[in-house]
């Protein structure tokens, strides 16, 4: 207020300063990702040099090696586990969300609480019995076990999220459809699905993110046949010597689907992570 003539200039200066500060912070946070990408394009001697190599001619060698080696089965297992469990979440979750949003059952709030409380049940709660069950049913090292577990992990989130999208559909639409004699199936397939298609897409992406990155169950319930992408990375912890460039290439490939999905669904990410509480 002291000098009105100064305000314009001061805002410009502060804008530049804050922009620089902001970009510095963003650079620090993004740097490990960038470094991962860079290392993946190096040769092994370049990646394991001291001091680290900053300028180099990029090579696709590591990516080719990872992709032609034993990585693809892990990647495919991850894809199967994530896509199948996400599909199950939608099949089970959409009707449930409907029952909690459009024609709410009694004690909707309690049911919602129940669902979400299972999301935050620590894996310690059910780990041992699930493991014994999987062992007895010969589901250890079977991708089906992971599909069922990831469905369990994501279903509460799916129900909450889909419900939050369903609540946005104006009630008149359903009334009109019912007057026209539409049944439950018609209502779901003709009204609900098309209207919340973006919501279904967002829910799927969030489910894919969580199941793709999941490690605890993957490492304990699989060993070789059904092992997923994060398990492939475990092999780099020790015993493989200085394979940093290959490690970086594998890490890049393993992270790529979720990174892309998250960037595409950026606007919906926050809603998904808070189960629809924040839009």
């Amino acid at each position: 207020m002291r000098a009105n003539t100064m305000v314009g200039g001061r805002i410009q200066v502060s804008k530049v300063v804050w922009t620089l500060v902001g970009w510095l912070v963003v650079f620090i946070f993004f740097f490990p990702v960038l470094w991962m990408w860079l290392e993946g394009f190096k040769t092994e001697p370049q990646a394991a040099s001291s001091p680290p190599t900053i300028f180099f001619v990029p090579t696709l060698m590591q990516f080719q090696e990872v992709l032609s080696g034993d990585f693809p089965p892990f990647f495919i297992n991850s894809a199967v586990a994530s896509i199948a469990s996400t599909f199950l979440v939608l099949v089970l979750g959409l009707p449930a969300a409907y029952a909690l949003a459009i024609r709410p059952v009694k004690r909707t709030r309690d049911v919602l609480f129940f669902f979400i409380s299972t999301r935050f049940l620590p894996f310690a709660a059910s780990l041992v019995p699930l493991y014994l069950l999987a062992r007895d049913l010969h589901l250890l090292d079977n991708i089906l076990a992971l599909v069922l577990i990831y469905t369990t992990i994501n279903l509460p989130l799916g129900v909450w999220l889909l419900r939050s999208f369903l609540l946005e559909i104006p009630n008149d639409l359903f009334e009109a459809a019912r007057v026209d004699g539409a049944g439950f199936r018609t209502e779901i397939l003709r009204i609900v699905v098309p209207l919340i298609a973006p919501g279904i897409a967002a829910t799927s992406l969030i489910c894919l993110i969580f199941s793709w990155n999941e490690f605890f169950y993957a490492v304990n319930f699989t060993s070789s046949v059904a092992a997923t992408a994060p398990i492939f990375l475990v092999g780099f912890i020790s015993g493989r010597g200085l394979f940093y460039a290959k490690l970086a290439a594998a890490a890049t490939l393993a992270s790529l689907p979720v990174l892309l999905a998250g960037w595409i669904a950026q606007k919906q990410l926050i809603r998904g992570l808070t189960m629809g509480a924040v839009k």
Partner: protein
């Protein structure tokens, strides 16, 4: 008389049965999901409680026997478990506190008039999306490795070179990697809160002579407080479960220095195969988590109500 009463009764039953039918029709779509969740979470949890009263090692056939509260007395007396609980608390509190503060600062930056906000936001969320096992390995091997890592090489001129961060400061390393991962999460939630604020109110406060700090403390902070709480609570429910980065960075070591409850559970259940003990840890973990989760849910519902009122 009787016939009248009878017909009246019949009408009532039809009305009641229609109502009951309607109630069941409403519940029907809910049932598959409900039954599935009960089957896969509640029944196993009941079994966990049951097993926690038994001494049972999978590697010793025939070792299954009732042991009463032995597993729980062990939890209370065993040093290992106390250390794990303490590590869990230290890890969770420090990760949440630091990432909330950083997240708030960065969200405020991204909410102000800086150039390239969209791109900054996009890049900022990358650490949260990167596969945690991949992120942890990248930190450990290419950034922190004392010989080939970037950081020790950068710090050499300052006399800090060749420090083996992971084994010398194991907990700080795990906290750093987790803060790197959770700050974007906090930032996203807090940014959503900041963006829901009406800029005219801030403008009015400025006209009334409030400086930046005053209007932040008096106007912005109260508004984003529920968002900060939500982020902190949801975040702590996830961070309490930290397993990936500990497995990759330190494997719970050196010694027990970074063994938290989930990692101890892993060791007891899958390295020791002590089913009874692992189950007792499970029950304790559920009790501890329920306390945090109750607060989280309450916050979530209050935000829902705020949104609904709008």
């Amino acid at each position: 008389m009787i016939s009248v009463a009878g017909s009246g009764g019949a009408r009532e039953t039809t009305v009641a049965s229609v109502a009951r039918r309607d109630a069941w029709l409403r519940r029907l779509p809910l049932l598959p999901a409900f039954v599935y969740v009960v089957l896969v979470t509640q029944i196993p949890f009941a079994l966990t409680i049951y097993y926690s009263f038994f001494s049972w090692n999978l590697l010793k056939p025939g070792s299954f026997r009732f042991s009463g509260l032995d597993n729980y007395t062990m939890l209370l007396t065993d040093e290992t478990i106390r250390t794990a609980v303490l590590n869990t608390v230290v890890l969770t509190l420090s990760v949440i506190a630091i990432s909330v503060v950083l997240g708030l600062a960065i969200a405020s930056l991204l909410n102000s008039e800086v150039f390239g906000r969209g791109l900054m936001r996009t890049l900022m969320i990358a650490p949260f999306l990167i596969m945690p096992t991949a992120g942890a390995l990248i930190w450990k091997d290419t950034l922190l490795n004392p010989i080939f890592g970037l950081l020790p090489n950068l710090l050499t001129p300052f006399g800090l070179g060749r420090v083996d961060w992971v084994s010398k400061y194991p907990m700080a390393t795990v906290v750093t990697v987790e803060v790197w991962r959770w700050t974007p999460f906090m930032m996203l939630i807090i940014l959503a809160g900041l963006q829901s604020q009406n800029p005219e109110i801030l403008e009015a406060a400025r006209v009334d002579g409030a400086n930046a700090i005053q209007s932040f403390r008096r106007i912005t902070l109260p508004l984003v407080r529920p968002f900060i709480e939500l982020g902190a609570l949801l975040g702590s429910l996830f961070v309490v479960q930290t397993f990936d980065s500990i497995y990759m960075l330190t494997y719970g070591g050196p010694g027990q220095d970074t063994t938290n409850l989930p990692f101890l559970l892993y060791l007891v259940a899958f390295q020791g195969f002590s089913i009874g003990q692992a189950s007792a840890i499970g029950v304790v973990a559920v009790i501890l988590t329920t306390v945090v989760a109750t607060f989280a849910l309450r916050t979530m519902f209050s935000i829902f109500q705020v949104e609904a009122r709008r």
